[in-house]
């Protein structure tokens, strides 16, 4: 199962994704799931999580990074668990709020 790293922005609390090309000392976070660096196996996923945790501990940009399972659905990355789908979109009862309201999709 493919995995990506998800976290919350320290100042905003909003959901952010560890972006492609991130490495220790040069980490980027984006607000769209599409920017995510995707780990194809557990070893790579562990590497990405370590990079994210080190960044969270030192750069004061994000908090609580963790891995989530994703799949490719019609060319788009999508979390496999509904909890993470809701995190990536916004409240299902308020489609005017969250990332779904910003025209982004999970």
């Amino acid at each position: 199962m493919s995995q990506i790293v998800i976290a919350s922005g320290l100042g905003s609390g909003r959901v952010v994704f560890l972006a492609k090309g991130s490495k220790t000392g040069a980490v980027a976070w984006g607000g769209l799931i599409e920017v995510s660096e995707v780990a194809a196996d557990d070893a790579r996923a562990a590497e990405l999580l370590a990079i994210a945790e080190a960044d969270a501990a030192t750069q004061n940009e994000v908090v609580e990074p963790y891995l989530i399972d994703v799949e490719d659905k019609g060319g788009q990355l999508r979390p496999t668990k509904y909890r993470e789908v809701i995190r990536c979109l916004g409240p299902t009862v308020r489609e005017d709020l969250g990332k779904q309201a910003e025209g982004t999709s999970a």
Partner: protein
């Protein structure tokens, strides 16, 4: 209403200054997230699924129009234009930014509000009967004692790091609207044989993963010993409460494992040591607090209300609102008016900034500027002249706040669930909305009093254990799933519901509720409410209809 003195003002202002500096240090990286987390939680700031969430205390659910307007302003200025009234009579904002939170707290401090004691293992915001000071059968206004408890518990050095959070509820009526029997400590005001007013003390109630109805450990506590007895209970709990396992750390488990008699004996033993100490309440101090809760300047008005009666005779919508949302007041010619925050198609307890402003305006116009928030996630105008009810109703209709469903099926208690909450396993709001939409107002009226309560996880913020129909969201192999239980009650006849059987998918659960209600309508006797029918017949007929077997 209680008004802050210089000590209250200083304490809240100091906390704002302190938290502002803590946020600055966190943003600058001077303290880690691990160090900062308990500090933000002590100021009611959680990190949820989509954003931070700020929980603001509304002490014992009482606020005035000025405070409600400030809540509206904060929703508009710092959040997404709405707030969520909770089952603990508080309000939550779902989208604040960390760096703006100190400004929000400063705004709140301007109107004598804060977010202290809304999180952490301390004594939380004390809750009470939303009709306190207005209810016809009230012995005394319980908010006097809630306020005394608030002052005693705020930043209490001995009880700021308890084994687990601690919730106290106090009511001044026999009929319990504050769910006191499912709190860590519940207190019911009562009279002894001589007519003296005091408290029945109930300990060890609670919901969550291990629900218990509390047990009475003292039948009658004289008022002067209110604080010393609370302190004794807390001291025993602080000593015995388990700190090795958070799931067994609440006082309900302590009481259960210790045994009621032994726990009560330990409390009495501790109490004997301190009952005549400085904790013994001088009458003049109680009187000083009580002055804040003196009734407003009610007009002498007749009991009859011809305009209201005439309108009820000619307007079915108004008559329905009168029947369900209006309660008897202790003062002649006055009523208690409930504003349902459960309109069709909306999340239970969510109110927009505009609606909050309207409620504040209506409080000024009709209710001596007073409002209450209920644990059922509604709002109350406690003192409305009966003859003014048609005018109030018309303005509520205009604001979309005149839903006539208090106590009916669509008056559902519901936690934020997985739409917002990081702890939730399943969504609860969409289930509440679907159930409400399934039954027309006429059908709901036919069904009568029925309390549906929905939680998105076992922490039970939606009080599902004490719903006539309780629904619990669980995660089953990565799918949202719902357990249904029947027969719970949060009243003076408190009872925990019993699980009906295997759970259901989100698509099935509304159909199941429909079958349960159809069963009730088939078998109820004349005038029998749902809970009475359940108590008479038990689960069997409901199980047969739902599962096709006994």
């Amino acid at each position: 209403m209680y008004r802050y003195d210089e000590h209250d003002h200083a304490l809240v202002q100091d906390r704002v200054t302190q938290f502002r500096r803590q946020v600055e240090r966190r943003m600058a990286g001077e303290i880690s997230e691990e160090q900062f987390r308990p500090l933000r939680l002590m100021n009611g700031l959680y990190l949820q699924l989509h954003a931070y969430m700020l929980r603001v205390a509304i002490p014992y659910g009482t606020l005035d129009s000025r405070q409600m307007r400030k809540l509206a302003y904060i929703a508009r200025r710092y959040d997404k234009g709405y707030g969520h009234f909770t089952t603990r009579q508080n309000i939550q904002y779902n989208w604040p930014k960390l760096e703006e939170t100190p400004d929000i707290l400063a705004e709140l401090a301007e109107v004598e509000m804060h977010a202290i004691q809304t999180s952490g293992n301390c004594i939380r915001n004390v809750t009470s009967d939303q009709y306190a000071g207005a209810a016809k059968n009230e012995i005394e206004d319980p908010r006097i004692w809630c306020e005394i408890a608030r002052q005693w518990s705020t930043l209490h050095p001995e009880f700021s790091f308890l084994p687990r959070k601690f919730k106290i509820a106090i009511t001044g009526c026999d009929n319990d609207r504050a769910a006191v029997k499912v709190h860590d400590i519940g207190m019911i005001m009562k009279r002894d044989a001589s007519g003296e007013v005091g408290f029945e003390v109930i300990v060890g109630g609670g919901l969550g993963r291990t629900p218990f109805v509390g047990k009475t450990i003292r039948e009658f506590l004289p008022k002067e010993h209110f604080l010393s007895y609370l302190e004794a209970v807390l001291r025993v709990y602080n000593q015995l409460g388990r700190r090795d396992n958070k799931y067994k750390a609440r006082i309900k488990v302590t009481l259960h494992e210790t045994g009621k008699e032994e726990f009560a004996r330990l409390v009495e033993e501790e109490w004997m040591e301190i009952k005549d100490s400085t904790l013994k309440l001088p009458k003049e101090e109680v009187d000083r607090i009580a002055k804040h809760f003196e009734p407003p300047a009610f007009r002498a008005v007749p009991e009859v209300a011809p305009t209201t009666d005439a309108r009820a005779a000619s307007d079915a919508g108004f008559a329905s609102w009168l029947r369900h949302n209006i309660f008897e007041h202790k003062t002649q010619g006055y009523s208690i008016a409930n504003i349902s925050v459960k309109p069709m198609g909306e999340a239970p307890g969510d109110a927009t900034a505009e609606q909050m402003d309207v409620m504040a305006d209506l409080a000024d116009e009709f209710s001596f500027s007073e409002l209450r928030v209920t644990h059922s996630q509604n709002v109350v105008l406690p003192h409305v002249e009966r003859e003014a009810l048609p005018a109030l109703y018309d303005k509520l209709v205009e604001a979309g706040l005149a839903t006539a469903n208090l106590g009916l099926l669509s008056d559902i208690i519901c936690c934020p669930g997985l739409d917002y909450c990081a702890l939730a396993n399943a969504r609860s709001i969409p289930i509440a909305m679907k159930i409400a939409e399934r039954f027309t107002p006429a059908k709901q009226e036919e069904i009568g009093d029925l309390q549906v309560k929905i939680s998105g996880c076992i922490n039970a913020c939606g009080h599902h254990h004490v719903g006539h129909i309780g629904i619990l969201g669980v995660d089953r192999k990565g799918e949202e799933h719902y357990q249904v239980q029947l027969g719970g009650s949060a009243t003076e006849e408190a009872a925990l519901g019993k699980i009906l059987g295997r759970g259901f998918s989100a698509d099935e659960v509304v159909e199941v509720v429909d079958k349960i209600i159809a069963t009730y309508l088939d078998i109820r006797e004349d005038g029998e409410e749902f809970i009475e029918t359940f108590r008479r017949v038990g689960q069997t007929p409901f199980k047969e209809r739902v599962y096709g077997t006994a």
